[in-house]
């Protein structure tokens, strides 16, 4: 299949052409990234397919009122799965609100993760340390600085570990992003800034966010900047692996701009048809990451119909598990509202808690 390339989002110079290993029709150009045997190549597809299915399930659950809101990630599976796949277990990823794909790769239980969006508990129900996956961060770009601090700490401990911050193109306008890049370069923090440039920050196109390509901003901080085809999972794995190596070996942080596209709305509260041109969505639909990678696997004889069938079955089972897990989750008991404000609940809070539980007429346990 020959697909028409989308217009570049910002004027391109030769250096701005994204690094790519798979052509849009799924042909491998050059060598595979090191360390990817057949099982791991198949695993990359499996993970993307599970994430796609879980994303659709979450959207459906929101439509049925089971989730308060959902920020879909369809179209960005390669960027998320590929980058998280390139990390080691001892590394730490710092997500925004759109990184379920990375969460899955880090082993976070999807139902635990979705509790954030159900309004059951602010941080979701997973343990950030256990999975090397920080808590969902809603204030845009704020997590970039957390990643730098973690990386500085890990470096001082002499660990072979790096921190990776996920954020969007809009986030590169926030002060926190710039402060993070600068800190990381000055302190040689083993950090990776992984920008998913999906073309839109809610309704605002990239051209209203920045006049310079995102990867080129790195130069101003003294960092390497890399632009990669974010819908090519093999290319994403490779550039993230390389960035990880630079970070832990030499304390050189990298800004990666993964060029991808937000195929759905910003969130389930959003009507993207007001601002997203239909032709643009259609052009990017043809470049979406799963079918491209599937074509590659099939044409190389790495995966066959039986494999894809088993992935579909597993995805359906996960969707069912999500549905059952979410539907079965009641609100948390009200006393938890007071429980983790401080390590030890101070008296004034204990009094307020007791009033809710026993005193007021609206009390509830």
């Amino acid at each position: 299949m020959k697909v028409e390339e989308p217009q570049p989002l910002v004027d391109q110079e030769p250096a701005d052409v994204p690094f790519r290993l798979l052509t849009p029709d799924g042909t491998l150009q050059g060598d595979l990234p090191p360390g990817l045997d057949r099982d791991r190549l198949r695993d990359l597809y499996r993970l993307m397919a599970l994430v796609r299915r879980a994303d659709l399930e979450a959207t459906a659950l929101q439509r049925q009122g089971e989730l308060a809101v959902w920020a879909p990630l369809s179209g960005q599976e390669a960027a998320q799965v590929g980058s998280a796949f390139a990390l080691q277990p001892q590394d730490m990823a710092f997500p925004s609100y759109r990184e379920m794909g990375a969460a899955v790769v880090r082993g976070v239980d999807i139902v635990d993760y979705l509790h954030f969006y159900r309004g059951t508990w602010h941080g979701g129900m997973y343990d950030p340390a256990e999975h090397g996956f920080g808590m969902i961060s809603v204030p845009v770009a704020s997590q970039c600085l957390h990643a730098v601090g973690w990386a500085m700490g890990a470096a001082m401990d002499g660990k072979d570990a790096c921190a990776l911050a996920y954020f969007g193109d809009g986030a590169t306008s926030e002060g926190d992003f710039h402060e993070a890049c600068n800190f990381s370069a000055v302190f040689k923090a083993p950090a990776i800034f992984f920008c998913q440039n999906n073309g839109w920050a809610i309704s605002v196109p990239l051209s209203k966010q920045t006049a310079a390509p995102i990867h080129r901003k790195a130069a101003g901080y003294g960092l390497p900047g890399v632009r990669v085809d974010g819908n090519d999972i093999l290319a994403v794995v490779q550039v993230t692996q390389e960035a990880r190596q630079r970070a832990v070996d030499a304390g050189i942080p990298t800004l990666i701009e993964a060029v991808t596209y937000r195929l759905g709305p910003h969130s389930t509260a959003d009507d993207a048809s007001i601002y997203q041109p239909r032709e643009e969505v259609e052009r990017w639909q043809a470049l979406e990451p799963l079918s491209r990678y599937r074509t590659f696997l099939e044409s190389q004889g790495i995966a066959d119909a039986a494999f894809f069938g088993s992935v579909d079955e597993e995805a359906a089972a996960i969707a069912a598990k999500i549905r059952a897990g979410i539907a079965a989750a009641p609100p948390r008991p009200v006393h938890e509202m007071f429980q983790w404000v401080y390590e030890q609940t101070p008296q004034h809070l204990a009094r307020q808690r007791d009033e809710v539980l026993h005193g007021g007429q609206d009390a509830d346990a």
């Binding site: 308060a68 159900r118 306008s173 605002v204 948390r332 938890e336 509202m337 609206d362």
Partner: protein, 324 residues
């Protein structure tokens, strides 16, 4: 009489202000083509063009900071912060500059800036979308803090805020965006800085602002069934605070309960109570109580109903006040 939602009233206030004064500018995140995430700026860019109504980069400190420069250049910026908690990155510019430029310049550089912020909870939103940040702003001298509670008043107060020569933090109770009221949208009613008695009653005064005004009116309706007449005062403006109206109301009833959604400790209710004790001590028949959010982060959506002051909590406080 036509019925208007608060969202539509605010939209009309912006349109009328843009129309009346060609120095007014409206900007923020997603306010252009999309018309804002709550559609408060819907249609304004189409009507007034991209120079006067524009999307900014995603940068709150930038949005507040350019307001300072635009005001110095003779424009009247009306900036939108997308949600309460996202106004925090802009606090430095707001506190360090917008609030004190007039003072530092010995009156030579006024700051006719309006910062609109959808605030407070009750709509089942995700984290960081339900804060009540009024105390941060009310504690910052040099800012006016305005919180409308009805569509008609929202129109009037926003038009006045945009015309005001001082910086105004304009907090929009987002759970009331879709509330309706019938009447004519007009400006020139009660000025900024004046509270309003929205319901008369002789037994006890309820004092509230924003979304909690309607909650207090519900409580008053219920109390009336039991023969308890509650007075309800809508502050409308936290800074400057209308102590006179408050004092008159509380002197008449001798009893008061302050209701707000922000956490109790150092919430604006603390200021109201202190003022009432100073001004009306001899007239008070009972301590002034507060019904507020708890001293916790705004909780997850599925338990927020236990956090936001309920009619029952308000009535139980009234009961205690009346028992003195």
């Amino acid at each position: 009489m036509p019925e208007t939602t608060m969202a539509a009233a605010l939209n009309t206030a912006l349109a009328d202000s843009l129309e009346r004064d060609d120095r007014v500018l409206v900007f923020g995140e997603d306010v252009g083509k999309l018309g804002g995430v709550f559609r408060i700026t819907q249609g304004l860019q189409q009507r007034f063009g991209e120079t006067r109504v524009f999307d900014t980069p995603l940068a709150e400190s930038g949005i507040a900071g350019i307001s300072v420069g635009l005001a110095l250049a003779g424009w009247r910026p009306v900036a939108e912060m997308q949600f309460d908690a996202f106004s925090y990155p802009a606090l430095n510019q707001t506190i360090s500059h917008i609030a004190r430029y007039r003072y530092r310049s010995r009156g030579r550089a006024p700051m006719p800036v309006v910062i609109r912020i959808p605030e407070a909870g009750g709509i089942g939103a995700a984290e960081n979308h339900s804060d009540s940040p009024e105390t941060y702003y009310a504690h910052t001298v040099g800012l006016k803090v305005v919180v409308p509670s009805t569509p008609m008043d929202a129109y009037d107060l926003l038009v006045q805020s945009i015309a005001d020569p001082d910086p105004v933090v304009f907090l929009e109770p987002k759970s009331r965006y879709w509330s309706k009221e019938s009447g004519e949208l007009k400006s020139g009613g009660l000025p900024i800085g004046r509270a309003r008695v929205v319901r008369e009653g002789g037994h006890c005064t309820l004092i509230a602002w924003g979304a909690m005004v309607s909650r207090c009116l519900e409580a008053a309706d219920l109390a009336a069934e039991d023969g308890v007449e509650l007075e309800v005062v809508d502050l409308r403006t936290l800074v400057p605070l209308d102590l006179e109206t408050l004092a008159v109301a509380v002197r008449t009833t001798g009893r008061a309960v302050v209701v707000h959604e922000a956490p109790m400790t150092l919430g604006f209710g603390a200021e109201v109570v202190a003022r009432l004790v100073e001004d009306c001590f001899v007239n008070l028949e009972a301590p002034v109580l507060r019904v507020t959010g708890y001293d916790t982060p705004y909780p997850p959506a599925t338990i927020e109903e236990h956090y936001v002051p309920s009619v029952e909590r308000i009535l139980s406080a009234v009961g205690r006040v009346l028992s003195y």
